[in-house]
Amino acid sequence: MEIVLALAIGVLTASGVWLILRPRTFQVIIGLSLLSYAVNLFILVMGRLSSNAAPILPIRAAGDPTQFADPLPQALVLTAIVISFATTALFLVVLLASRGLTGTDHVDGRESER
């Protein structure tokens, strides 16, 4: 499972980095989304991988910490997802405004001269 997740994060990050370096605003926003997926997975992995483990200790039972999933990264991911969703939506508005004002979807507002 580790190798699958690691590959997924790697592929998402690589695609995201490539896309945010592209000259079209739409590519940039998709790149940002992919990067934020990669980061969300990464945060989850930082709490160590475990399957079939509850995140909460039962009341009045100390339990072995290795049997339980770390709940904190899950909470962090939730916050990060909400925030990146909101900022992506905001960026989408700016993207449309820029398209309307400049008539091009180039990130610099004008086509590059070749």
Binding site: I20, T25, V28, L32, L35, S36, V39, F42, I43, M46, G47, R48, I59, R60, A61, A62, L72, P73, L76, T79, A80, I83, S84, A86, T87, T88, L90, F91, V94, L95, A97, S98, L101, T102, V107, D108, G109
Partner: protein, 539 residues
Amino acid sequence: MSSFADHLTIAPVVLPLFAAAIMLALGGDHRVLNATLNVGSTAALIAIAIVLLRAADAAPLGLSAVYRLGNWPLPFGIDLVLDRLAAIMLLLASVLGLAAVVFSLARWHRVGAYFHPLVQLLLMGINGAFLTGDLFNLFVFFEVLLAASYGLALHGSGSARVMAGMHYIVVNLVASLLFLIGVSLIYGVAGTLNMADLAARIPTIRSEDRALLEAGAGILGIAFLVKAGMWPLCFWLPDTYAAAPPPVAALFAILTKVGVYILLRLWPLLFGGQAGAAGYFGGEGLLVGGLATVAFGAIGILASQDLARLASYSVLVSSGTVLAAIGMERTGMTGGALFYLVSSTLGLAALFLLIELVERGREPGADMLAVTRELYGEEHELEDTTHIGLVLPITMGVLGLAFICCALVLAGLPPLSGFIGKFALLTAALNPQADTISVAAWCFIAVLILSGLSTLIAMTRSGINVFWASPDRTVPRVRAIETVPVVALILLCAVQTIEAGPMMRFMYATAESLHAPNQYVRSVLGSAGEAPKSQRVDQ
């Protein structure tokens, strides 16, 4: 934990939040009511910040309150920590906030929707970032202030603003992602996000995990350095600041300082001398990067053709100087840097506001013409002689005087506070703890003095162009409410000069507690509160 004074700690976050919520509920139509609320709330923030500042300064160890949200025991819950550094930054932010809001009342708040609630949300994010003692909470407040700043940078629209704003948003979104990666790496290694707990745990981290921790800290640092505008992460800054509406640019003067503040807070705490093998990690990077930023900013100032860009590059010089001083990792340096930070931020905000007033009387592109005239010497026409002997109108007098004061503060010349800040930095650099002055200190001294010189040259040049040599200028129509914030900010610099003794004492005390983080850790974790009942049953 129940008295009113304790809850005052969270007021700088809650008050703007409620003010913004009420404004949004009112809607954009009630402009007068919104403006009143905004001014009232920001003025109340100043009052609160002064009370908190006095409390923090009077407290032993300079740390007056650890506010546990929801009364959760530390290090599990989120805490707000009020110490001298947080208090002085709170005061600075709210002063800039009030100046910008009052300035905007003349006309800028009308050029787009939701100016007032956005300012309040920005202040909420800034104040929260100053107060919080938890890394992830810091991320959340960072996002609050960034989201508000995106809206404000685009206030008034127009294609220049949208283009600069788009770059600003992308750069900051990527920086936020780096922030998250850094935070999660640190959590993965240290198992905590509370700053004090983290500082306590770092010396005990196994050596094979230290590389991962340092990678996390480095990535986290990059996120803050993007915000602080360290070279080579600063190319977004001049465009955005020059394109932003003037009151917003004045507010943004504190945004770079938020990044600087976090470094000041976290770096000596986590990687100070007590951190064992991880100590002093990255200090050289800060120093070199800071010096490069100052050099880049100084060249940018000389090369700028319009005043707004000149001011934006001055922002880089200011934050670069502070970054380099932090990188020196010495109490005297940090104290001087704090004094310099306050004075240069006030001066920059005044300059951003002033520029708009000055530019109003000139046709667009006049700066370009002025530089061209200088280059080709085409100004030997005698038409201007008719104007000789005319008494300058009072407006131009006030604006010119204010411009001179800004130049004095930013270039660091006496008698204003910029001089005292730079003098403190130079004194600290020339009085090392070791016998010899290091090469780094000499570089710092040279760069500091040269950057002051280039600021002075550039501001003198543009001052002559704007106030004396500009052909067919009309006196700008300036309302009193617009000059008041500018004059007030400059007066604050003057007060800082007159009260330099007590202020320097305060700054040095702040620096001392920053460089003795064990006290911070003990005060924060010592107030951990009762353990929850279930945990006791478990044992």
